[in-house]
């Protein structure tokens, strides 16, 4: 046994697009303990509810995270709608589902690219990001933005998607599906990829439950939980929804769960387009949340369950707005998976939780 040494990892590190600092205590080539340090991105935006009214705050909520931007604006809008008892038109709910699932497709493909970069498969990284550009093109055509859409408002959505655009989305998704299957094969069948992922960073089902892990990270350890199966909002219209599960709990299982979720999301979008009801896209919202009124909401972000809580105080400003984001739930799982792993596998394990530090710190 060698002497224990501490290797700093981050905050500026080639595999991390975001600053996360880990102190890795290593003995020889084995990581004994990983101590995370966060706080590089903390902005304190929950306090902004005191100076932005509930309609303005939606643009702040959207900028909690640029990858799951749509999910945060959706989660915030739904929370305030519950707080004020606003009925959202059915068409708006379905349009929200379409954009939310498109965000999931873009987020998962982006993540797969970063994962490929983490194990040194540069060309696969480029292929993933090229495919992702086609999803971003849909966003740009339907909302005007590539990553920040500003398309949700309290009471509905700002823009409609017309028939021609819906047909276009369907056509583009068909094309993406074919190319995506090839990339998925590279991730799931390539031996050199499997050597880096199979059996690495295993989290057992019991640990996943004990550490309250959420999202694809937990579903890869066979935790049968996905907020979408509760049928909130437009998800209630789906004919059937089964979470994608895997029992292995290693890096390969996490890649597989996310890879299959992309296809699942594309199916959801197609189903939504097929049964999109006609009608208004927004209701007028007047008045302010009542003093002391409280509301909570759950949304399945690409990274897992995100919890929102809001409290009114009788004015147009909210008393309190609180989010609990998926990555902060998953950090404990990450440090558990890192303990005992090989030093060379650290970046792979860190990436497989799909860390979103700006969500976590806000």
């Amino acid at each position: 046994m060698g002497k224990a040494t501490v290797i700093p990892f981050g905050p500026q590190h080639p595999v991390l697009p975001e600053p996360l600092h880990l102190d890795l205590v290593v003995e020889d080539e084995t990581v004994i303990e990983a101590v995370p340090q966060i706080g590089f991105i903390h902005r304190g935006l929950e306090k902004l509810v005191e100076t932005r009214d509930y309609n303005q705050f939606i643009y702040v909520a959207e900028r909690i995270c640029g990858i799951c931007a749509f999910g945060h604006s959706l989660g915030y809008a739904e929370t305030v709608e519950r707080l004020m008892g606003v009925e959202v038109p059915e068409r708006a709910e379905c349009l929200r589902v379409i954009w939310h699932e498109l965000s999931r497709v873009h987020s998962h493909i982006l993540w797969m690219g970063l994962a490929a970069d983490a194990f040194g498969f540069e060309s696969l990284f480029m292929h993933c990001w090229r495919l992702r550009e086609r999803v971003l093109d849909i966003f740009e055509k339907t909302t005007g933005g590539r990553v920040i859409f500003s398309v949700v408002k309290v009471g509905g959505v700002v823009r409609d998607i017309d028939e021609a655009q819906l047909a276009e989305i369907k056509r583009v998704l068909e094309g993406i599906k074919d190319d995506y299957r090839q990339i998925m094969n590279a991730f799931l069948k390539d031996t050199s990829v499997k050597n880096r992922t199979v059996g690495v960073g295993v989290i057992s089902h019991e640990d996943a439950l004990a550490l309250s892990m959420v999202g694809p990270f937990a579903r890869a350890s066979n935790v049968n939980y996905d907020v979408r199966m509760l049928g909130n909002g437009g998800y209630g219209r789906l004919s059937d929804f089964q979470p994608v599960l895997d029992a292995q709990g290693d890096c390969y299982a996490r890649v597989k769960v996310r890879a299959l979720e992309v296809l699942q999301s594309i199916d959801i979008i197609e189903e939504m387009i097929a049964q999109l009801p006609a009608g208004d896209i927004a209701t007028d919202v007047k008045g302010s949340p009542a003093a002391g009124a409280q509301a909570a909401n759950l949304v399945e972000q690409p990274r897992g369950e995100c919890y929102y809580y809001a409290r009114g105080n009788g004015t147009k400003y909210l008393e309190r707005m609180r989010m609990r984001t998926p990555t902060s739930q998953n950090l404990a799982g990450m440090t558990t998976a890192l303990a005992g792993c090989d030093l060379a596998d650290v970046n792979m394990i860190v990436l497989t939780i799909d860390p979103c530090i700006s969500c976590t710190e806000r």
């Binding site: 905050p11 500026q12 590190h13 080639p14 697009p17 975001e18 600053p19 706080g39 590089f40 991105i41 903390h42 902005r43 304190g44 935006l45 306090k47 902004l48 100076t51 643009y59 702040v60 900028r63 909690i64 995270c65 640029g66 990858i67 931007a69 982006l110 690219g113 990284f125 480029m126 292929h127 990001w129 090229r130 550009e133 971003l136 933005g145 590539r146 990553v147 920040i148 979103c356 700006s358």
Partner: protein, 147 residues
């Protein structure tokens, strides 16, 4: 400037951005916009980099990291502030933990505004930065000859 005398390497650091600008910086390097065809490569090592792309504003905790990366870069070097948060603090300018734009920490040469900054704006800023890099490089050479 009609041609570039060198292919610059860039280093990217996320100050306290929301990721939106970070993924657009990466998108500019990837096949959709593909600046790699001009030899622009993303490096993780500050000593190899010519252009420093910073996204997001600075706060008490990351200001030292931003300054450290800047100090480790070899002259001549250019700093590009990508996105409105890096330029001025943007939508978060009045948050309690935000000091302000990146220019509060290090000298910034080119500002690329936008929320999120578009890859076209980043490419435009990098092209401008190349001109500044060229001037700085000439000034450095003149200084060496004079000494």
């Amino acid at each position: 400037m009609t041609y570039a005398t060198k292919s610059p390497w860039v280093i990217h650091y996320d100050g306290s951005s929301c990721n939106g600008c970070d993924i657009e910086v990466l998108a500019a390097l990837c096949p959709g916009y593909d600046v790699e065809r001009f030899g622009i490569i993303n490096t993780g090592n500050p000593k190899h980099a010519d252009i420093f792309l910073v996204t997001g504003s600075v706060n008490e905790q990351n200001i030292k990291v931003v300054q450290e990366i800047y100090n480790q870069m070899v002259e001549p070097k250019v700093v590009v502030a990508c996105g409105i948060c890096a330029c001025s603090g943007g939508i978060f300018h009045d948050c309690y933990n935000v000091i302000g734009g990146v220019d509060q920490a290090i000298p910034v040469d080119v500002y690329a505004p936008g929320c999120a900054v578009r890859p076209e704006a980043i490419i435009d800023a990098v092209v401008q930065a190349l001109g500044i890099l060229e001037e700085k490089s000439k000034a450095l050479q003149a200084q060496r000859k004079g000494a």
